[in-house]
């Protein structure tokens, strides 16, 4: 028998509306013990507050709660109204989402705190007043504010009052809803510090609900990632945030400024919707959905000891994997080991940067990965199939490469239309009209004009930046799942460079392809990459999460590279 303090099993919350039903919480289960801390993270509208309300028994008609909530092994739903009232606040208390209206405007702080003490603890007048004083001081407020009315408090003070109020009866479980959302950075840190100290001292079970990763990161040891009412990923907070396994979690982490201080912010494309549909709730925004995703709801399953992911594909899939690749170039006199036992992985929807000095073997590795160069040893697998020759570069939904010199692979005398449509014309899958539509769309995506005039221009009349855009467009018409970009910005001026990078990242975010970004430009790598491989003399010397590699490299060569490459930026 599970001896948890608070145990939630298959909890669902539905709201009936005039035009249908909102499933705000769907089949959520978790358990909490004394001293535990659990964070629930999710975008706005993912059902976090509804979950907290359900735990407090505060969902009102026409809301409906299904499933079980056990407090000390007693099902709360089986209790009478009076018994529930005696648990509320006394055993399970809630720090409400901070708003001006959350405290009664007509009652003093003193009255609003003491009323729960009077109701639940039955203390005398003096002891109550003493307790109120203690509580206020405990959260770092002066006891003088007792006589204040809510409108006389600042946002930060109000948050502290809310915490004091929640702790008034020394609850066993403390639920905190968005404790830091309405606050500025300084207050934010103070509140996080206060809560974590209180948690250490009082040892209550702490449930933190927030869409701010930073808050969850500092306050909790375990995390549940919520989307559209469902838990999509569960695990240890630091692990999950460092290495998200679900595409949604990765999107959340990518859009958090504090977890990713250097990277540009890219929200998860699409809107969250909470309607009742079969299938994976995230499928409309997922970059790797397959057929089964729209018919069956994925269940949470263990992917490692401490990690559960609800995904038919077991989380973010590996798109491309190069295993133990060796490539040696033999000249008359010299032997160059361009790739020395290199292994590399690119997962779906992610940007992997391959960094290293020129001559370290990056382009060779890229060639092997795309199939254009045959290695002496090792193999490359793309979506479970071996890569060889042009089997993936000459088909749709495969691999495309964009090179440093855009026209190394394009005939300069082609018109723009010819240049872009060439790969499609070669595979002969579409009619002329269809191809033309695709070309125009691609030009629009790379932000070039797509009128007849432009289509008929010859390629050699284009500027460097325009040429690079045309070659990106040429790759896009093949709808690649993996785009390998080899030093594509090194020949461009800084402003054009910035534009191209933004364009690529935007396209990647929107279309959801993966990217292997090869560069010796570290600041750019830090700006866009999820993971980084460092190559030196044909060897992969270090690999890992981008933020870690740039802030805390372990390999000596990486250290040197980072120090030199970043020095002008810090």
């Amino acid at each position: 028998m599970d001896k948890s303090l608070l145990r939630v099993e298959h909890l669902s919350v539905d709201y009936k509306l005039n035009n249908g039903e909102v499933n705000a919480v769907r089949d959520v289960s978790f358990s909490l013990n004394r001293g535990d801390s659990l964070g629930i993270i999710g975008e706005s509208g993912s059902g976090k507050t509804s979950l907290a309300m359900a735990l407090m028994g505060l969902i009102k008609e026409p809301g409906k709660v299904r499933g079980n909530i056990y407090y000390e092994n007693v099902d709360i739903n089986s209790l009478s109204k009076r018994e529930i009232k005696s648990i509320r606040w006394n055993k399970i208390a809630l720090v409400f989402q901070n708003s001006l209206d959350v405290l009664n405007p007509l009652l003093t702080i003193d009255e609003q705190i003491s009323e729960v003490i009077v109701k639940h603890l039955n203390l005398s007048k003096e002891s109550t007043s003493k307790r109120v004083k203690e509580l206020l001081e405990m959260v770092g407020l002066s006891a003088e504010i007792k006589g204040y009315y809510p409108h006389q408090l600042s946002g930060g003070m109000r948050q502290r009052v809310l915490i004091a109020m929640a702790l008034a009866c020394d609850p066993e479980v403390l639920i905190v809803d968005e404790p830091t959302t309405a606050l500025d950075a300084v207050y934010k840190n103070e509140i996080i510090k206060l809560l974590s100290e209180l948690h250490k001292e009082k040892k209550f079970a702490l449930l933190v609900i927030s869409h701010e990763l930073e808050t969850i990161f500092h306050l909790t040891s375990k995390i549940n990632v919520m989307y559209s009412g469902c838990i999509l990923e569960k695990g240890i907070t630091s692990e999950v945030l460092k290495n998200p396994m679900h595409t949604y979690t990765r999107g959340l982490v990518d859009s958090s400024p504090t977890i990713n201080p250097y990277r540009d912010l890219w929200g998860i494309p699409g809107e969250s919707g909470g309607s009742k549909e079969s299938g994976c709730p995230f499928r409309k925004r997922c970059t790797q959905s397959i057929e089964i995703c729209s018919t069956r709801v994925p269940k949470l399953e263990y992917v490692s000891l401490e990690r559960q992911v609800a995904c038919h594909r077991g989380g973010i899939v590996t798109l491309l994997e190069g295993k133990n690749i060796n490539k040696i170039y033999k000249n008359k006199k010299t032997i160059v080991k361009a790739c020395d036992d290199c292994s590399i992985k690119v997962r779906s929807g992610e940007i992997v940067a391959l960094i290293g000095e020129s001559g370290s073997g990056k382009t060779t590795l890229a060639g092997v990965l795309s199939g254009t160069i045959l290695p002496q040893e090792g193999e490359v697998v793309f979506e479970g199939k071996l890569v060889s020759g042009n089997n993936f570069t000459s088909r749709k939904n495969g691999i495309q490469i964009v090179f440093q010199d855009p026209f190394s692979s394009i005939n300069e005398r082609f018109s723009i239309e010819e240049a872009i449509s060439e790969p499609l014309r070669i595979i002969k899958e579409d009619s002329y009209e269809e191809i033309k539509i695709e070309v125009k769309k691609a030009l629009e995506e790379v932000q070039l004009p797509n009128d007849e005039n432009f289509l008929n221009r010859k390629c050699y009349t284009l500027s460097g930046g325009q040429r690079q855009r045309v070659s990106i467009a040429r790759s896009l018409v093949m709808k690649p799942k993996l785009l390998i970009a080899d030093e594509i910005t090194s020949m461009l001026d800084p402003s054009t460079k910035a534009n191209i990078i933004r364009l690529l990242k935007g396209l990647q975010n929107k279309n959801g392809f993966s990217m292997l970004y090869i560069t010796h430009d570290l600041p750019i790598a830090r700006k866009i990459a999820d993971r980084v491989y460092v190559m030196h003399n044909g060897k992969i010397v270090e690999q890992g999460i981008a933020s870690k590699i740039f802030s805390d490299p372990t390999d000596d060569y990486t250290k040197k590279l980072v120090k030199e490459g970043m020095s002008e930026f810090n």
Partner: protein
């Protein structure tokens, strides 16, 4: 600072009112004596020129307007509202005798109707959209739409004239003799019952609707959710957290409504021949006693102003947010 500003505002409004009261009759074509001396009113026989001169001198109507105004304000502050020719008595003492009755029924009816409205309104809001709420709501709507004098007439015909349960007129039995104070009070209540009932019936609806509305708004506020989350007793949640907030607009309305309640009272008093200001006003109009009419008008204005002022103070007391 703010407070001084408010008081200044009240003083200005007060002066505007008394000035109106002064100038309007004087700027109207003709003068009171054309009415006083006309046969039409038929209460007084016509005045001779001599008499008119005498009265004009008495009222100071022969002085320049500015002098008259000064005298008027000066007298006003002494509490002298002039002299009623018809009643042969100082206007202030006539009004004083009568106003007690009106204030009596107005205050009692306001207290009863607002309390009733607030509590029933809160009850309805708590059970909103239930059958009982719907029934109460429709009844209240109907009553709030019927004018008070109509209710008064129905009551008069039904309960006083028809059943004979209540006296038909007056505020107290004429020449009545009482063994003790309670007897007297009983008599007064007996006379006042129907006028008060008429006013209560006509006003409760308004307070009910306001209170119900206000309570429904308050119930959806975050702090009400906080209150339930705290596991407090329902009674505390409804009254201490809900009603205290919901009541604010009702209180403002009570004081704001005073003018219209007076208006209603004036009509109702006439239906029941109740000896208050309303009846006095009718009498004054009948005999065209301008001085008396002005006095009554002024009194009502001052009363309404005072009530507004009180409303300000009360709201300030309840709502800490009002600076």
């Amino acid at each position: 600072m703010n407070c001084i500003k408010r008081i200044l505002e009240y003083i200005i409004v007060f002066f505007v009112i008394i000035s109106f009261n002064f100038f309007i009759p004087r700027l109207m074509p003709g003068d009171p004596f054309t009415f006083l001396s006309s046969d039409e009113g038929s209460v007084h026989s016509s005045y001779t020129d001599e008499q008119i001169e005498k009265y004009k001198a008495y009222y100071g109507l022969d002085k320049p307007l500015w002098e008259q105004y000064k005298d008027y304000v000066y007298n006003l502050f002494r509490g002298d509202l002039g002299y009623s020719i018809y009643y042969n008595e100082a206007v202030s003492s006539i009004i004083l005798k009568r106003v007690i009755w009106t204030i009596g029924i107005v205050v009692v009816s306001i207290v009863l109707s607002s309390l009733l409205g607030i509590f029933v309104g809160a009850f309805s809001a708590w059970h909103r959209n239930s059958a009982i709420d719907k029934i109460i709501y429709s009844i209240m709507i109907v009553f709030s739409e019927i004018p008070s004098f109509l209710i008064a007439m129905l009551l008069l015909f039904g309960l006083a004239a028809g059943k004979g349960w209540f006296p038909l007129s007056g505020g107290i039995t004429v020449f009545g003799e009482y063994k003790n104070v309670f007897e007297k009070i009983k008599d007064i209540v007996h006379h006042g019952f129907l006028p008060v009932l008429a006013l209560v019936l006509s006003q409760t609806g308004g307070y009910y609707l306001l209170s119900r509305n206000s309570m429904i708004t308050v119930l959806s506020k975050d702090y009400m959710l906080t209150a339930s989350a705290k596991g407090l007793d329902d009674r505390r949640i409804i009254f201490r957290h809900g009603l205290k907030n919901a009541i604010l607009p009702v209180i403002t309305r009570i004081f704001m409504n005073l003018g219209s309640v007076f208006g209603g009272a004036i009509l109702v008093e006439n239906v029941f021949s109740y000896p208050g200001i309303g009846r006095l006003m009718r009498e004054a109009v009948m005999v065209r006693d301008y001085v008396l009419m002005q006095g009554i008008f002024l009194n009502i204005c001052i009363l309404v102003l005072t009530m507004n002022f009180l409303a300000d103070i009360v709201c300030r007391k309840i709502d800490p947010r009002v600076e």
